[in-house]
């Protein structure tokens, strides 16, 4: 006869309420595991999706994701000329907030060489990749766009030709892929009114100083206007057998740029932009673990205290300590397991509704279960101690 199971059977409603209550707490713990994983996944998503051998960025910058970096687009010719480089192409990565389908939406624009460049979308859930130099876009499906939708960005309208389900910016916002010139236009090109104003200002400056006549100033004006042929990084594919460190050293030495491998770029993110938020999430997870264990302890301890007179009776009629210890421990393990199962089922059926990505790993679920189970066993030791301290004499006399 199993005393713990009999007790649970006899108090079904109460045990169910406890399992649901504690289970909700476990669901919170498990969701935070998933939020933490999702946060890291999104933080590194663009790096992993692009995954070049080297990232070439503005000197002394940790760009292009951890920190802003601007390099002239044509630098990719110089990078490609370095020995050990098989291919180099410019890439733009820039988070923006623009109106899509009548709503303000945050997303990140990725501009790349669509014909022979590196860094475009890899997996499509609908449609195709960009095949034209202009006015086509590929969007992350979460933006709510459909293939064929037309989206106005900056000065032009772009047609959605494909949908992807991979890659977000570090804030979890979806990516929108454009050809590099289109991305440059959307991000760097001013509107016509502002260009006119800027030309006027420059013309005034040049002629007021007396160095140029209005005719000469007009001649140089185009060269002095801000350049929009910019990129955030040059991504590099190495030639077979090339040593990444040696190629990086050569680029840094001869082109005065900073170079990172994808692993180093990941490290930059983990130690930089993601570090504090990661530490915060870890801290919150630890607090949640502690809170869950404390609550389980209280539940188990209270359940044991309620049975003190019964335990005294058991001791008086000669029940050995192991019978009593087994009852307390087993009840603790059963309640914890049932609560955990409830939390597990709940979170695995609701994680999709979270606004940011929640990534649930079986290893995290298992680790959490082991932790809370150990906590529950530890907590039930308090109950066991109380049970062992109970005097059989308590069974005598009136209740």
């Amino acid at each position: 006869m199993d005393l713990a199971i009999q007790d649970i059977k006899q108090h079904k409603g109460r045990c169910l309420a406890t399992a649901i209550g504690v289970g909700l707490l476990f669901a919170l713990v498990l969701s935070f595991n998933g939020i933490y994983r999702g946060f890291l996944f999104e933080g590194l998503s663009f790096i992993k999706t692009t995954n070049p051998d080297l990232w070439v960025v503005e000197r002394y910058r940790g760009g292009p994701i951890d920190e802003e970096s601007i390099v002239p687009e044509f630098f990719h010719y110089s990078v490609a000329a370095i020995s050990g480089v098989a291919k180099a192409s410019p890439i733009i990565f820039s988070p923006v907030e623009r109106e899509i389908l009548g709503k303000k939406r945050r997303f990140a624009i990725v501009g790349y060489y669509v014909f022979d460049g590196l860094g475009g979308p890899q997996k499509f859930v609908a449609g195709r990749g960009i095949r034209r130099a202009h006015y086509e876009m590929v969007a992350y499906k979460k933006l709510g766009l459909k293939v064929g939708d037309r989206v106005h960005l900056g000065l032009h309208t772009y047609t959605v030709v494909g949908l992807t389900a991979e890659g977000t910016d570090p804030e979890g916002e979806p990516l929108v892929y454009l050809s590099l010139p289109d991305a440059q236009e959307v991000l760097f090109q001013r509107d016509n009114e502002e260009i006119r104003n800027q030309r006027e200002r420059l013309l005034q400056s040049l002629t007021t100083l007396g160095a140029f006549s209005p005719g000469e100033a007009e001649k140089y004006l185009d060269r002095l206007l801000p350049d929009t042929h910019l990129a955030n990084a040059i991504v590099v594919k190495l030639a077979p057998g090339a040593d990444p460190a040696a190629v990086a050293r050569r680029i840094e030495k001869w082109l005065y740029l900073s170079v990172y491998t994808t692993d180093q770029e990941t490290e930059l993110m983990l130690k930089g932009r993601l570090a504090k938020a990661k530490a915060q999430t870890v801290m919150f997870r630890i607090i949640l673990y502690i809170v869950s264990i404390v609550i389980i302890s209280l539940v188990i301890y209270t359940l044991t205290l309620e049975k003190i007179r019964t335990i005294a009776v058991m001791k008086l009629i000669g029940a050995p300590n192991r019978v009593i210890i087994r009852m307390v421990l087993e009840e603790s393990v059963l309640l914890t397991s049932a609560s955990f199962l409830f939390g597990l089922v709940l979170i695995h059926n609701t994680y999709q509704v979270f606004p940011r990505l929640v990534v649930l790993y079986a290893s995290d679920d298992f680790f959490t279960f082991v932790i809370v189970l150990l906590g529950a066993i530890l907590a039930s030791c308090l109950g066991v101690l109380q049970a062992l301290k109970t005097e059989p004499a308590l069974a005598l006399g009136e209740q």
């Binding site: 006869m1 008086l316 000669g318």
Partner: protein
Amino acid sequence: MEVLKIEGLSEIFGFGRLEVRALEDINLSVSAGELVALLGPSGSGKTTMLLSTSLILEPTTGKIVFDGQTIFQKNGWSGGVDIRRLRREKMGFIFQSHNLIPFLTARQNVLFPLNLVGVKGEPANRRVMKLLEYMEIADRADYPPALLSGGEQQRVAIARALANNPRLILADEPTASLDTIRGKKVMELLKKIAKENQSAVIVVTHDVRMIEGFDYVYYLKDGRLDKQSVTH
């Protein structure tokens, strides 16, 4: 055959000015099949006597011999004696407030002490049903204690006390929570058990109306067994 023999037992708590002599120079002997009542007013030491007799409380001095085995001598438990095992194998307890395990059914409550001594499966079930039938409560075997009346609970408690065919049954005010008619029925049952099972039965009570037909009655007053009366 003598089941319990207590000689010169004293129970002293505290020391100096705070010393309390709960029991002093107690001599008691109970044989198999005997029904003994222990009477006394509140504070006379009845509960202390019960605790000592059930080997829960270590006496200050004296000697306890149980079922031919010396359990306590002078000022210490005899080595090698597993007291809790003695209690589960050779003693049965009946309590004032029944003290059934609330989350077990009547059947399981009686089964519990049998399981503790390793009797399981069909033999245990047969024994449980026999006892419940003997107590005329078999029809309520699958009821939890909360759904049984006070008298029914007490009958289950007696069945539980009898489960392992104990040599000694200790009953602490077994009729206190029952009305007179039910109380008398329980006492009749205890008499029957003493005779039929050849168990020694000690009943602690303060109700003199309930002791009719007992073999011996001991009066406890201020920690001393003042008077021993043979009723037949």
